[in-house]
Every structure is written in C-alpha cells, then in structure tokens.
C-alpha cells in the first residue's frame, strides 16, 4: 500500500518534473522548425537558415542578451532597472560625440563604460541609500539619461566610424562568427557561474526570497544590490556601444522602448518580478524566443503592429502558464 502510494507520488513528481526552462527550449525548437518549414514553402528556398539571415539576427540578439543576463541578476534580488534604454541612447550619443572630436577608439569605449558605471552608481544610490522604489526611480532616470543624450547630440544623429567601434559590433572571428556573439557567450558563462556555482549567487537568490533573513544572516544586502545596479549600467553601456557599431550611427533615439523588450524577455524566461526566482538559461531562452519570433514574423511579411500584438499576447500567456503551473504544483503538495 505504502509502496504504491510512493510510486504514485513519484509519477506525479515526474509529471511536474519538466522545468519551465526546458519547456521554453522545446517551444523555441518548435518555433525554429516552424519558421524553417514555412520559409521553405513560401519562398521555395531556405531563407530562414541562410547566413544572410542568421548572422545579423545573432548580432542583434547579443546586445539584448548581454543586458538581459545582467538584468536577470538584478531582478532576482527584487529590484528593477528601466533606465537601460535611456542609458543606451546616452552612450551612443556620447560615443559618436567623442569620436567626432577625434579621440582614440579604445579610450572612447573606456569612457563610455565608465559613464555607464556612473549611471549605475546613481541608480544604486537612489534605490539602496534613499530607499526609493526602483521601478519609479529608474523610470525617472530613464528620461534623464535620454534627455542628456538629446542635449549632447542636439537631437541629430551623428556618424560613428572608427576601427575599434566598428569591430565591436560588426567584427567577425573565423570569418563568420560575429564578435558581439562572443561577448554574449562570455557574459552568459560568467553570469551562469555566478548564479549557480558561487556564494554570491546563492546570496542573490536569498536576498530575493527574504531580504530581512539574509540581512540578519550577515549578507550585505544593500552592497550587493548596489553592485548589481553598477553591473547593469555597465552592461547597458556595452549594449549601447554594440548598437552604435551595428548601425554606425550615434543617435539619442537608440534603445527607445528597449527596456520593455529586455524585461519581457527576462520575465518570459521565468524570472519573477517579486524576486527570488529565475535562471540565466531561462533568460537566454526568453531572449531567443522573442528575437526569433520577431525575425521570423518579419520574414513572413507580417506587419509590425501585428507582431506587437503577438508579442504582448505571448508574454501574458507564458506568465499565465507559469502561474497556473505553480499553483498546481502547490496544490499537489
């Protein structure tokens, strides 16, 4: 009797066992297969899997992905950074402005990253030291950064040509692999190790679940949050530099609305806004799903506003699925 019950519970556990991340990757594979087949049928040749499509798509994914991975860590602590879009606008204007003054490319990259870190420090200070709600605070700083970007460039777009900047977004390694992808992979590996194999990663999860308990057990909660805001600022600056390089132009409108795309990708990947839950691999899947969905639907000649509708619905559906799965799992216990 007891054994059968044990077996039954094992069976049930197996039913629950497929993780959200695995589910996302299955969805991703189905989606890729769907777009591959439809492009074969529609155009009579394989366009979706051609190098002409895949290389630009991967470059575009990478700058979104770099920011998304870092933002996942911040979201797990229960904080949020909406200012990434404004940060990208400021960085790209600053880079173009400095390049037009004839400053060395490497120096420009370093200055931009330093300014990104400064923006992170500002966000971190307001949120952790003054105790402001991070969503509202970063909505405010978003418009400050973008306004400074507009002021720097006077509302115009400026060409940004420089061997170093060019290489950052459009350089390739082994002739085919774009350089930003390498950066993205490095960021994924680093963040994965931090979140899954290190002490500080455990602490980040603990802060998200119960900040009071982790404070009492000796974790420097404010310090870790501050550090993550700084990382976020630096990552957004790096993303801004890659975007500037990809478009070869610095303009204040760069990254407008990007914060919503990145946050959608992170949330799609199973990170909870309330903190304490989320995986780097889930975020990777979320970024890939949103970007490939956009790419594939554009390829099928579907208009932009339909894509917007589909993205909104996908976000709500996936998050609803998480909620339903979670409440079911809770009921089983």
């Amino acid at each position: 009797m007891a054994e059968t019950r044990l077996q039954e519970s094992n069976k049930e556990r197996k039913k629950v066992g497929i993780s959200n991340t695995l589910m996302l990757f299955i969805v991703l594979v189905i989606m890729i297969a769907f777009f591959g087949i439809t492009s074969q049928i529609k155009f009579g040749q394989q366009f979706f899997f051609s190098i002409l499509n895949i290389i630009p798509m991967l470059s575009n994914i990478s700058y979104i992905g770099i920011i998304a991975c870092i933002l996942t860590m911040l979201l797990i602590t229960g904080e949020m950074d909406f200012s990434i879009g404004g940060n990208i606008g400021l960085t790209s204007c600053l880079a173009a402005l400095l390049l037009s003054k004839g400053i060395n490319g490497v120096l420009v990259v370093l200055i931009c990253l330093a300014v990104g870190i400064l923006m992170g420090v500002f966000n971190g200070f307001i949120v952790t030291r003054l105790g402001v709600n991070s969503i509202i605070a970063t909505i405010g700083t978003m418009s400050i950064w973008r306004g400074i970007g507009y002021t720097l460039s006077n509302g115009e777009s400026m060409l940004a040509f420089n061997p170093v900047i060019d290489y950052l977004g459009r350089g390739t390694i082994f002739k085919y692999i774009p350089f930003p992808i390498i950066l993205f992979i490095i960021v994924i590996i680093l963040t994965y190790i931090i979140m899954n194999r290190s002490k500080i990663g455990r602490r980040i999860y603990a802060i998200g679940v119960n900040p009071m308990a982790s404070y009492l057990s000796g974790t420097n909660v404010k310090g870790i949050k501050f550090l993550l805001f700084i990382f976020c600022g630096a990552a957004a600056s790096l993303g801004g530099l890659i975007l500037t390089s990809l478009s070869a132009v610095g303009m204040p409108q760069h990254g407008q609305g990007l914060e919503l795309t990145v946050v959608s990708a992170v949330i799609l990947g199973g990170t909870a806004l309330s903190g304490g839950k989320g995986q780097i691999l889930g975020t990777l899947a979320g970024v890939l799903i949103l970007s490939i969905l956009y790419n594939g639907l554009t390829m099928l000649n579907i208009m932009y506003f339909y894509i917007q509708i589909i993205r909104g619905i996908v976000l709500i559906l996936v998050v609803a699925t998480y909620e339903i799965r979670q409440s079911r799992a809770l009921r089983r216990v």
């Binding site: 709600n133 509202i136 306004g147 619905i313």
Partner: protein, 336 residues
C-alpha cells in the same frame, strides 16, 4: 538591536535637518503647495505673462488629458495596483470613436460616446480579471496589454479620420463663459466626486484597506478581488474619456495618440503623494502635482529652456519627488 536603531535614528535626524520642512509633515500636500508657490514666484518674476488668465487657461487645457487619466490611476494605485495601459486605452478609444464619427450622422454621437466609454471599461475589466483571477503581477499584465492594445490601434492607421462633429469638438476646446475651460470643470468635478467616494463610502475605505494590507483586508471579509477589478474598470473608463478629450483637442484620430502618457501620469501621481505600494494618497495632492507639472512645462517654454533639457528636468523632478517620498516614509528599521 539597540545599536541598529540608534544608527538608523541618527541617519533620520540628518535627513530631517537636511530637508527640514518636508520631512516633518505627514502628508506631502503642504510641502507640495509650498513648492508650487516658490515655483510660481520664480516663473512670475522671470516672465510677466505667467500669472495671467490666458496662460492658466493654456496650462489647464494642455494637461487635461493627463489629469483625467491621473484620476483613474490614483484609485488603482491606492488599492496597491498599477496600470501602465492607460495611454494605449486612450489611443484605441480615440481612434475607434474617430472612425465611427467619420461618416456624419451614420452613428449618433451619444452612441459613439457610450461605445467609447464601454470600450474603456471592458479593457479595464480585462486587466482586472487577468491580475486578480490569473494572479499575474499588475506591472507585467498592463505592460502586455499596453503593447497589445497599441498594436490594435494600428489597424486603422491608414484611415486618418478627421473630427467634424460639433459635440466632440466642443468637449475639450470650449470655455465656460469664455474663461473657464470645460476640461478644468471635468477635472475638478471628477476629483471632488472621487475624493468624496474615497472618504465617505465603504467602497472608498475598502480601497485604502486593500492597499494598506491585502491579506488583512481579505481576512476582514472584504471582497478584495471584486474591488480591485472595479478599480481597473474605473481606470479604463477615465482613460477612455481622456481619449475622447484627446481627439477633440487634436481634431483627428491617429494610432499613436497617448503614447508615453503613462509615464507623465505616473510622474504626476507619484509627485502628488500616492504611495507606490498602495494605501496612501489623496486627490488634493494629485491636483497640485498636476498644476506643478503643467506649470513647469509651461514655464520652461516661457523661459526658453532648450527642448531637450526639459526632458532632463522632468525626469529629475520625478526622481526628486520619489526620493522625497521615500525619505519621508522611511521606516524605523530600513536595513536592506
């Protein structure tokens, strides 16, 4: 533990000294009034035309749409919710009613107004149902509906309808006795009625209770889900009305109308002292915040501040307002 408290109270004293006046008041409204008076003096000194009736007519008319939206989002935020989809709702309602009005006399005007308001309510209801019954975070839900509804707006992108209807034209442009804009009357009436509801009805008190402590409200027998859904319906309703005023003032229907309005409205509401977590806020504060934001936009134009710098000032103002709010409401033990 004593050490910690001592450390914290020391920090509090410092901030008290630093902000003086602001921290000693419990509600932000008095400090907002003082802030507004200081601002008005600065603007009036720098430009003779600031303190004129014509200018104030302009300020009120320009910010009518945001004011009407702020009424709805205030109710939602006091109940601990969040609604980012108001800009999109206003856009969709605006363009649909403009399309319905395109052929004159085809659909009677009152019916169009009713359709518009019902549409707003239905979209609010959808938000509310997803948030309460499925249990998704309100920010994510309304972020999703923001994108979805804005996408639907573009179905009519090619039509570009103009408004020739007298009633709709008058809605946001006419003046009572050539002095008071109709829009000001709407805002005052809406704010007064909603404040009375919040103060003197059971529904209003329940909203504060839910915002203050939801699980407690549930235990006290308040029908939390139902009241939360009603707050989102109210927010949708006012967003729809704002959409009508918007097409009236602009004279046409375009799919991008109301884009980004949610941030402006959020700035106003937070500056007005509505707590982000819920449970706190009143309409007098929101009204003064509306005046402040409107006057700053207006005053910066008068002082000839470069257009891009205005964006920085607005963002800085939001950060300043929310920091003030945070310092004022700092809990005794805020260690993490």
């Amino acid at each position: 533990m004593n050490n910690l408290e001592a450390k914290n109270s020391k920090g509090k004293n410092l901030s008290k000294k630093f902000l003086g006046l602001f921290t000693q008041t419990k509600t932000p409204t008095p400090s907002l009034i003082i802030l507004y008076i200081i601002m008005a003096v600065i603007f009036a000194v720098s430009n003779d035309n600031f303190l004129t009736i014509v200018n104030f007519k302009g300020i009120f008319n320009n910010f009518a749409v945001y004011g009407i939206m702020a009424a709805g989002i205030t109710i939602v935020m006091i109940a601990g919710g969040f609604d980012l989809s108001i800009g999109s709702i206003a856009g969709l309602v605006g363009i649909v009613s403009a399309v319905l009005l395109m052929r004159e006399g085809f659909i009677p005007t009152p019916l169009v107004v009713i359709i518009a308001l019902v549409m707003g309510c239905v979209m609010g209801l959808i938000n509310g149902l997803i948030i309460t019954k499925v249990g998704i975070n309100p920010i994510i839900t309304t972020l999703g509906t923001l994108a979805t509804i804005r996408g639907i707006c573009y179905f009519w992108a090619k039509l570009n309808p103009r408004i020739y209807n007298d009633f709709i034209e008058g809605l946001g442009r006419k003046f009572l006795g050539n002095v008071i804009p109709y829009t000001t009357i709407y805002i005052v009436v809406i704010f007064v009625i909603l404040s009375l509801i919040l103060k003197f009805t059971r529904f209003g008190r329940d909203i504060y209770t839910i915002g203050g402590n939801e699980s407690l409200a549930r235990l006290a027998g308040i029908k939390v889900d139902r009241i939360k859904i009603i707050t989102y319906v109210i927010s949708g309703l006012f967003a729809a009305f704002a959409g009508l005023v918007l097409i009236s003032q602009l004279g046409s229907g375009r799919p991008e109308y109301g884009d980004g309005a949610e941030l402006e409205v959020l700035t106003i509401v937070v500056l007005g002292g509505v707590a982000v977590g819920g449970g706190k806020g009143n309409f007098l504060g929101v009204f003064i915040a509306l005046l402040i934001i409107g006057s700053i936009s207006n005053g910066m134009v008068m002082m000839d501040v470069p257009v891009y710098l205005r964006m920085v000032v607005k963002g800085a103002l939001l950060v300043f307002a929310i920091s003030l709010d945070a310092i004022r409401n700092r809990r005794r033990l805020q260690l993490y």
